[in-house]
Symmetry: C2
Subunit: 572 residues, 2 copies
């Protein structure tokens, strides 16, 4: 047995920002040192942010990343943190190619360096495009404890590093991660890590990135679990946090080097003697994971906030239609950026109902955000009159006049424009390109319509619990949805009931199921046909839709890559 | 020695269209049979089209593809083509996952089935996402000739199938390909295939797909080359073609089965006896590859034509600005779709010069396409007046008013809208989102500005050679480019000279070089800084830009995947 104080630095780096991320990390190490930690773990590629995408292929960037690790080691030692073992994810490269790497820094030097072995290449991941797989495992002995590393996917796949560590012998496993959020994923991580701890016969320290990066958001939720499944510490989700925990680590007589499970195990001795016994700190609180809906809300808030701030914007502008989508988007934006950074614009056309305008104004009043009314009648009339537009052309011009209006205000006042479309709409193409689809970011792009309502009710209930005004007007939640692009139009004129529609989409989009499966699931053949066809032919619209926070298993965008030109039609 | 008549069916399938592609293939087999061929080769995944992207993961689609191969074999036998050995690419799957497969059909059955071994996962390719690598090689003996298969990337990588065929012994190698066009790639293929033929010690039959698929275009250019580098036949580029050639194949005593170069070689006997001697047909003409500029023009014409037609459109509409980009786009569109399918719209604002309108009208006159003038003054005034727009906001509103106008005409008259931006503009973000960037397809998206001029001069010269009117007005070629969004504006107010700019972009975008390299190449530091920064911060615009035909090594889109949120800045 040996004592060791472990710190997990759950931080929010920015992709590409080597200088800024270095400062974040230095601060994290200082905090860990102040807390008396002996080891501090940062997330996967913490130095570069994750994912860097094609930056991984840019030699100048890889060189800068590698150099920054060496500089970091020297700087930490100079600052008196040299005795702290620092485990840090970064981008490395050698003659074989780029590497998703983790290094251990100690006494001013890189004492171990290891590359990710299992490279995910599914869903949102393209790691075979970027990285060569590592074939070595570095184990260091610090204060008599043998410490190994595995990187993210290395714990999601069988065999490889975990098996090798288990066979070669290790006392503690550090696992830097950048595991994007999706609903219910957090419930898989602890059981998975427990299994891997059992295979390695050692406690596992799981450190995950936090924060938003384009369409991904990372929830943190870092923890320490042992081989028996005991969670010793767990960090809160969606916030930067330094988690410090004292462990009594069972130390073994680990001497295995050479080939294990197809990998080459190497050992480095830093200090062989266990620390003199010390008084452990009280165990940190084990953070409760958020409820499902609270978790989604936090993901959306974090994703939006980081997109806006990391891209140098301070404020957002978008249409307040009086409907549920813009209302929920507005509540998220206010939670993310503050009411003073949110600019709502009501843009009535001649088909806009009175309630759409009064509900929009009421939303702004409840949120305390900026609000203005800019009718689009004159713009629309200029097109309709000159071009004699009728039907769909006339409907779309209203949406597009609004899009141009928002972009003009954005240019004039430097706000970032948000698109307020939801996943259901985007799936079936129920949106107007260059109209309501205008925006740099689409906060609820990956939220099905039925879940938009659920979020609205949840957020209002939370406000009530706290004694605050519920942000979303009841009428926006309860009224039947309408695009209001022609008289008395309702969404249900063109679409099945949203509950039914979302159920079909869940099977067809998330589950990638065929029509036979949908029929078997009991859906009506004509409805299936209609929905599947709408989804298939809307791909060209989705390609030009702004990015938005992924919360589901399969988000539109890099997660679901279908050709636009595609004559495959599910038949039955 | 044994005689064999080989047909290469260089066809233009449509992704997902199993029925339509089956008909194409059946016709190809019939034509080959009529020509007396003994073997006919189709391109990689000819049955499904290539690339199918995430359709590969859809079980119903993979099942349908596999079933279609069996049905095809039966149908061909019934139609009296059973004696012809048919090599066909398709999507297969088994419990390991989806497979990029090739099958040999003979006498109503699938007699050999093999999976691609080397899976490309760089550039535009994501095959590790989709396919499991094949580990077996099937060799059939037909008329005494041992015939093996390799699929596309299998000839681009060392080792694997070619090495195994060479070691195990084979007389003829069939190579179905779907190799996307890029400039100068055709010059690599014959030398590469020659090397592989030498390694396999057998002639290689290279069959490539032809036609456009979203942002890719395939140039065909199929050929037969032997181990000595002699090209026996070569098909024309960018057109469907059945190439039939008689070969005298050296037959060996090939009996190797089992493991070769890590792959499992299996042999199947169809007929052991060589054909009785027959009179070979005269050698087919060996098509000359197109000149560099003609090749690019054909790629752009083919890419546009197939995008429009395969997506069910008949006509296109876009702005005729009087400038070079819209002029070249118009000439491409007329070559692709015919003058009657092209609708030009001049949309003058108060800053438009007289020559922009007269050059646009002259372009339409020369092309004989549809043309109308729709001033945007009223639309622009509606925004500027109501919102008090000035500066950039006023400039952009002009571009966006035009975008909305084109979309309205598209909705009203069912044309597909084209965006006319070039690669230089898109690289530096010199375009207006939802303005000139509006469109379903962007034909010259991957053409640098200097090359746009080159194409214009080339196309005019071609017309003169043929005694036709040069399509592009001289004035559109020679006048200094201007966006005409404010008085006396010139592109050079905001951008370096295009020749210089394109040189820098060639290094920074195509070459992924760092600033140090650019300095070393002799560019001015201040200009480098400005250009690199413009490119970096325009990523969000590129994400919403329409797809367009890839002609360069690194096209924007799936070829260059950079994060939007990205604080990496090249420094020096």
């Amino acid at each position: 047995m040996a004592q060791l104080r472990i710190a997990i630095a759950q931080l929010n780096p920015t992709v590409g920002d080597l200088r800024g991320n270095t400062e974040l990390i230095v601060n994290g190490v200082h905090d860990a040192a102040e807390a008396g930690a002996h080891v501090v773990v940062f997330s996967e590629m913490a130095l570069t942010g994750y994912p860097v995408e094609d930056l991984a292929l840019r030699e100048t960037f890889a060189q800068a990343s590698r150099a920054a690790v060496d500089q970091l080691a020297a700087r930490l030692a100079k600052a008196g943190c040299g005795e702290l073992l620092v485990c840090i994810g970064y981008l490395d490269f050698d003659k074989a190619g780029a590497r998703n790497a983790a290094a251990m820094l100690y006494r001013g030097e890189v004492v171990a360096r290891q590359f990710k072995h299992h490279l995910p290449n599914y869903g949102v991941f393209d790691e075979h495009r970027y990285f060569k797989a590592g074939q070595t495992l570095d184990i260091v002995r610090l204060h008599g404890v043998d410490i190994g590393m595995v990187i993210c996917e290395d714990i999601w796949q069988d065999g490889g590093p975990i098996a090798a560590l288990g066979e070669a012998g290790v006392d503690l496993v550090l696992a830097p991660n950048a595991s994007p959020y999706e609903q219910a994923k957090d419930e898989q991580r602890v059981p998975l890590a427990t299994r891997r701890a059992a295979e390695a016969v050692a406690p596992l320290v799981y450190c995950n990135q936090v924060g938003g990066q384009d369409d991904l958001v990372f929830d943190g939720d870092s923890f320490v679990v042992d081989a028996a499944g005991v969670v010793h510490a767990r960090a809160p989700q969606f916030t930067e946090h330094l988690l410090v925990v004292d462990l009594d680590v069972a130390t073994g007589d680990n001497t295995g080097t050479g080939s294990f499970a197809g990998l080459e195990v190497r050992r480095w001795l830093l200090s062989g003697t266990p620390l003199p016994a010390y008084e452990p700190q009280p165990d940190p609180p084990i953070s409760e994971p958020l409820t499902d809906t609270a978790e989604v809300w936090s993901a959306l808030v974090t994703g939006l906030r980081d997109y806006v701030h990391k891209n140098g914007f301070r404020s957002v502008i978008f249409g307040f239609s009086g409907g549920i989508d813009s209302a929920v988007t507005a509540a998220i934006a206010v939670d993310a950026l503050g009411a003073d950074a949110v600019y709502g614009v009501s843009m009535p056309s001649k088909y806009s109902s009175d309630h759409s305008q009064s509900d929009a104004a009421e939303l702004a009043r409840r949120l305390g955000c900026h609000f203005r009314v800019e009718p689009v009648a004159d713009m629309v009339q200029a097109y309709v009159g000159q071009l004699d537009l009728v039907g769909l052309a006339e409907e779309n011009v209203q949406a597009r006049a609004r899009g141009v209006l928002l972009m003009a205000l954005s240019n004039q006042e430097s706000h970032l424009v948000l698109a307020t479309g939801n996943k259901t709409e985007i799936a079936v193409g129920y949106s107007t390109m260059y109209g309501d689809a205008v925006g740099a970011f689409a906060p609820i792009k990956d939220v099905f319509k039925t879940q938009v309502w659920e979020l609205a009710r949840w957020r209002n209930a939370e406000a009530e619990k706290r004694g605050e005004t519920p942000p979303i007007p009841e009428n926006s939640i309860t009224k039947p949805p309408s695009a209001e692009l022609r008289p008395d139009q309702l969404d249900t004129d063109s679409l099945p009931d949203y509950a039914l529609l979302d159920n079909i989409l869940d099977d067809y989009v998330e589950g990638d199921r065929g029509v036979a499966d949908l029929l078997e699931a009991g859906f009506d053949a004509a409805v299936i046909d209609k929905v599947v066809r709408m989804v298939d032919i809307a791909e060209y619209k989705r390609r030009q839709y702004p990015p938005g926070t992924k919360i589901t298993f399969k988000a539109f965008g890099r997660d679901r890559r279908l050709p636009i030109t595609n004559r495959w039609r599910e038949v039955h």
